[in-house]
Amino acid sequence: MNRNPRHHRLRPAVVLLILVGIGWLSPARARADGSDTEFFEKKIRPLLVESCYECHSSHSKELKGELRLDSAETLKVGGETGPVVTPGSPEKSRLIEAVRYQDPNLQMPPTGRLAGSKIDDLTEWVKRGAPWPEADGHGAVAAADGPAKSKFDLQKRKAAHWAWQPLRSVFPPAVKGEGWPADPLDKFVLSRLEGKGLAPAAAADRRTLIRRAYFDLIGLPPTPEQARQFVADASPDAWAKVVDGLLASPQFGERWARHWLDLVRYAETRGHEFDYDAPSAWQYRDYLIRAFNADVPYNQFVTEHIAGDLLEHPRIDPAGETNESVLATAFWLLGDWVHSPVDIRLDETDRVDNQIDVMGKTFLGLTLGCARCHDHKFDAISTKDYYSLAGFLESSSCRDVHFKWQEHNRQVAERIAAHDRETAANVVKQSLTAARPSLDRMADYLTAAALSIDAVAPGVKPLVDAERVQTRARHDSLDPAQLSFWIEQLKTAGADALHPFHPLALLAKHGQAATPDLAPKLLDSAIAAWKADQARAAAWPKGATIVADYHSPGAQPWIVEDLAFGAGPIRGGDLQLTYANSKANRAAGGAVALALETAAVSSPAGDFPGMLRTPEFTIAAPLVWYRVAGAGEAFIVVDSHRMIAGPLHAGTKQAINAGPNLVWQARDVRAYLGERAHIEFTPDQRSHFLAIAAVIQSESAPPEPSRVDGKLLEAIANSPPQSVAELAKRYQRVACHMADMLAQNHRGDELTPPAATTTALGSPSQPVLAQWLVQNAESLAPSSKSPAAVSDPVAHWLADRAMGRAELVAQIKTSPVALALLDGNGVDEHVLIRGSHKTPGEPAPRRFLEAIAGPSQPAIISGSGRLELARRMTDPNNPFVSRVMVNRIWHHLLGRGIVASVDNFGVLGDAPTNPELLDYLATEFIRDNWSIKRMIRRVALSSTYRMSSRPSERSLEVDPNNTLMQHMPIRRLESEAIRDSILQISGRLERRQFGPSVEVHLTSFMDGRGKPASGPLDGDGRRSIYLKVRRNFLSPMMMAFDEPLPYSTVGRRTVSNLPAQALILLNDPLVVEQAGRWALAVLADKTATPRERIAKMYETAFARLPSDIERTDAEDFLQQQGEQLGLAPAARASDPRVWADLCHVLLNVKEFIYIN
């Protein structure tokens, strides 16, 4: 579905383009008398020069809107949106519209409105045909000397920049120092160093190394025991054992997931004014931790992010419970959400922009967002590329996915459905079998009933004499009770022209039953009334269009979340356990009903949650109509806006309370005419029953479907019976046939005319007679003298069934929910000229970047096409995905990426310092099945990683920025690692993994709208990755140490230096509290001497032993503090306050927050 240009205000502009094209066919000619020239030179040219040329001429420093107004030619060509003048028609000229300030989005000149007389002059000029003097007529020449509009040449750009080039297969270079490399990657590093006459730094000592690796791999320091064990391990694979142990540690995922969260602007609230919750966002964080720990191949990981909801075989966790793949799609949905935006479509384009921006930087290292308003200024990315990606997102919507036990529950649902089908069929079979004797004499009953009703004037109830009924029954050997029942039916039918027995009742009413000859006129009129009703039902309001038609299965995409709506609509004529509105009814196993219309129906017994959504459509009528029954909610998601709060848009959510029968319900949507939307239907939580047959756009009400039974009409009208008895026989034949089918597990469509004729735009028939049979089967049973006696066996049988069903229901597992994408129907975006949704340009069909996947990619056939997008992204021929990821790994392990600008591989990014190494690693990465852990392992085991951080003198001269990796840089720890270290050292660290986040601790300095309750000071001891990230209430400690703001991709954090950092470590209550806690742990070993304690404290904080002088300084300090506190010398070595102060100092020594 192509999106139509919305915003009616702009439609004229589109029309204008066409009109203008015609207008210019007859170029304006100056009037012969020269008055036009004079007018132009006197009034117009000076005005243009003064008010327009700063931005719209060949002399403009920066040409705005691609529009030049300095020659006849350029005027004719116009700007980005085409010509701005329609000669002779000021009202159709954008130029005039602009100077009149009619459109708030197009006001020229932008600094202020022209004087009224000037506007009049311009209007007059356009009215005269916008004449431009001949002398100026060298338009082409004038255009050529304009500002050189650098033409966007995608292929040229692609050819000129390294990053677009395919991965080269490179071999490790030969090096002189052959003893040094431990891995081929070292040769790439060493070769460069040797080229500059440099030698790599010496290997770091074991204690330095183990601290480095612990932080890099799991984000926590080693314990003294872990460090000592490595120092003492003389085996040749001692180091590999450390690295492998860390890679296998559950904390590995916590460390690397946090890196990833920086890329996807992870937060658990929506920011904006009230900072609303995104309640299940943490499920994505847990997904990441599990994925990194499970070493999910990176191409799979990327695919899951882009289209994890669309995989035919999603990745299920080892326990067989969790659909992991679908959880990854939450990354798209973690951005800011605005509530109550005045311009709802602008809000969407901003949201989508953030999604494209994050996706581009994270996976491709490309700043796609720069192509929103114009082709990228530097990179081979066109505006069309940008908007072709926007379509993928606008074709997908947001949902709460039930991601656990999906397959299990699907199987249970199938069994429940089969059970229900079987129960319904059996109930009907039993009751119809019991009713069979009556049905076999139906003609007799009908005839007798017809004779028992007197002809009376219309509107007066016929009196039926009980005695006469008895007599008649005896006479015809009929059951009097049954006969009474039929008489009642005919009475009802007589008053309802569409009742299946109406024709017969009509004849009876007019006394025709008593005469042998049927009055053909009466029967004809009854048949004509039925046909007229069918015609009425087929007469649809003008201009009505279908949004979703669940009357005809397969006519629209079936888009659902979870199992409430099953696998498809329930067909008219299908038996089902009733739309049970009460729990009691469900417990009893349900009553059986027969559906009249095909419709999407939520799980009749409310066993499963779920949602049904329509395809995307453009709102084209002031009203949307739903054909619904039951209770629930309809949510019109306009331009993907779902943060419904505040004064606007509350009306997009509407409660449905429609009762048991399908009815049309209207919603006023005129505020959103021209916008794109879809509707989500959710059943009421208590009643669980919601049915949706169709969604229509129409200015006036659509007709109710006809209640005429098409099969019955056929049977009567094809060869009209000639007598009442014959008509009664006809009824008996049809009814018995239907009863046979119903008792034999019929198919619903056998009871109604073929599905093809049944659409939302016309329902010519409903299986009314079959429904009547199902409803009345019990009454037709012969021994109905004692109804209880008949229903008892059925009731018992039903109760048994109910028990069987309850057992099945007990197997259902309730899944938690998580944010995820739900695929819709395909929607293409338009190129939005200058990024504005008010100026849509050409369509931009969904595809991946042209510079990577080529100009002629296969069209997307169904759905959003995100899976195709993921496949194109992770194609090994796309050099970005693999290069960007290995570069991130390098960045995290070695402090600086081979491409330092890790999120930008474009022209404005940094060039790779060692391009061969980058390609080597990327190639190896792919060859090694995209294993992140094995890539980290290789790097960690390399000699490069194991170098000391002490540079050589020569290196400082030759390569002061260490781009050649002569030594390991010294790095400051991230905020999370600092806090986690403090907690581990103090003994407070709670190693429990996963689950809802701990609320952020609020200080008295954190205030604002949407302020939450404060969390505990120490975050319950949980690692920092489990602290809640609230956009408007970010942790001051995390921010001070440069945790990035969650709004765009940040692959390389800034490392700032500000007094708040020192103040936090000096005075923050958390730090002081943990120092005290650590001191108690230090003192717990009563036998240790102060010296031993100090040594252990150094090992704990820095993974090394103190030097003599460090120890002496610390000892002196203990004395000094003790003295200051007035303690006796003997007491100083055991006073917790003194030791807490020493602990506090060690947390403030810079070595604590730096790794070397």
């Binding site: 004014e273 205030d1007 103040l1063």
Partner: protein
């Protein structure tokens, strides 16, 4: 350890001397301000030699300028321009009649009739700039003000408009203008942060992200001072005696020295060490700053420090603190409004008369006092004072007695710092609905503010995410008409 601010310390110590003094001979080391070396805009690096010992060391402007500091008076919620600085007699004439211009969608979309201002306007000062009765005392300073009556914003909702006014972008995440100014010029004060927000009680929608450093180093984010003691987080030592903390710091210096000997002298680590010196000085400077006991009774009265209306007293304290911060060389000070119970900021969707009257009462005297005080101390010339909300309000009613958001035209004013005072600039239409003459977009305001500080908004860039980012994005034009 007293304040060392150049504005009023006649002969400041040299940085080296000072560091030597502060740090007991320890700190005189060459320090790089930031570890993220390449992130600096190339131009800034060229224009500004390696910054000295403190992270926000003063840097020269692009060109000489009068304004050195900024006080930004943020009027949260959007004051109504047609009730304050932009008189529209036509509203009175057509009061209660259907509004004659086409009305754009608004936040509440509940458009009422044309609504006259409940307040009279009179010409004020020598210049005769009309100011409404809402601002009797600020009106008296009309000769100090340039009133811009043709402001426009791109956004009609609080959060986006707020964010736009603060950061030049409608979504959160970009650096605040205070962060940009401090990034561009550093600070003249070495014991206080360069960008301070005095929080009167109302944190604007969007929260502290409005004051963040965005992608700029965290160095440039605002420190939020609250009207409480202590005003800044973690500023008070937790030790029971000063000596205990001093002992700790002394040991820390020694141990830092030892570990530096082990790992080598690394700029970033040495900077972090120097940072403790600044933190230590801040522990002294902040209490001294907020101790108002040295102010005269006349000054206190001038600002309204003891006003009966509590919000006035709160804002008075903020304004006085703002002056004290400026005196100490702090580059950019923003004031947020005090909370007034029952009235939602300046955001009078209903109850315009009562709400605006109270909001104005809270700020009128303190602001007038601030202008008077700055002038009498010779600080107004070097201090740019900006008064602005995030948008204006509709000239037609919301309901019967409120006004909805109006980004199409509104008024702000600037004072001091080299502006063309005693004038007005630009105009809205005759209803005050839309700016029609000399429109000033928020980007233009930013460009002009930077210009007044001696910074070219197009040259003040920072490389992030593949672009040289600016406060003014790709927009902005210096409004020369308001520059003196």
């Amino acid at each position: 350890m007293t304040h060392h601010c150049r504005n009023f310390a006649p002969q400041p110590l040299s940085r080296r001397e000072m560091l030597a003094k502060c740090a007991g001979g320890f700190g005189a080391v060459a320090l790089a301000a930031l570890a993220c070396e390449r992130s600096f805009g190339a131009e800034l690096i060229a224009a500004h030699p390696a910054p000295a010992a403190i992270p926000f060391a003063s840097r020269p402007p692009h060109f000489s300028a009068k304004a050195k500091n900024v006080i930004f008076l943020y009027m949260d919620g959007g004051p109504s321009h047609v009730d304050t600085f932009d008189p529209k007699p036509r509203l009175a004439k057509e009061n209660g009649q259907p509004f004659k211009m086409k009305m754009e969608p608004t936040q509440f979309n509940s458009h009422g009739a044309t609504l006259a201002s409940p307040w009279a306007f009179t010409p004020r000062g020598q210049c005769g700039t009309p100011v409404s009765a809402l601002f009797p005392l600020v009106g008296a300073r009309a000769d100090d003000l340039v009133v811009v009556r043709s402001m426009v914003s791109d956004f009609p909702e609080h959060t986006t408009a707020n964010c736009f006014l603060h950061t030049g972008h409608g979504q959160l995440g970009r650096p605040s203008m205070g962060a940009w100014a401090t990034y561009g010029l550093g600070s003249e004060c070495d014991n206080l942060p360069g960008f301070v927000v005095l929080n009167g009680g109302l944190i604007p929608p969007g929260g502290s992200d409005n004051f963040s450093s965005g992608f700029l180093p965290a160095t440039y984010q605002a420190s939020i001072f609250k009207p409480q003691s202590p005003p800044v987080a973690n500023i008070n030592p937790t030790e029971s005696q000063p000596r205990l903390q001093q002992n700790k710091l002394a040991l820390m210096r020694k141990l830092d020295r030892h570990s530096l000997d082990r790992i080598g002298h690394v700029d970033a680590v040495e900077s972090a060490i120097a940072n403790y010196e600044l933190a230590f000085r801040m522990q002294m400077a902040v209490p001294e700053l907020t101790d108002l006991s040295g102010e005269t009774a006349a000054t206190e009265a001038l600002y309204g420090l003891h006003a009966k209306f509590a919000p006035t007293a709160t804002f008075a304290r903020e304004c006085l603190l703002a002056r004290r911060l400026i005196e100490r060389g702090v580059r950019f000070v923003e004031l947020t409004c005090p909370a007034i119970g029952g009235n939602d900021r300046w955001d009078q969707h209903g109850g315009l008369k009562a709400g605006h009257a109270q909001n104005a009462l809270a700020v009128d005297r303190p602001i007038a006092g601030l202008l008077t005080d700055l002038k009498s101390r010779g600080l107004l010339d070097s201090t740019l004072v900006v008064w602005s909300g995030e948008f204006g309000r509709t000239p037609f009613a919301q309901g019967t007695d409120g006004r909805d958001h109006n980004p199409f035209g509104f008024s702000i004013w600037l004072a001091g710092g080299g502006v063309r005072s005693g004038t007005t600039y630009g105009a809205t239409d005759e209803y005050g609905y839309k700016a029609i003459e000399n429109k000033v977009n928020v980007h233009d305001l930013h460009a002009t503010m930077l210009h007044l500080l001696g910074l070219d908004h197009k040259r003040l860039t920072y490389r992030f995410g593949g672009r040289d980012m600016r406060l003014t994005d790709v927009f902005g034009k210096v409004v020369t008409g308001i520059v003196g």
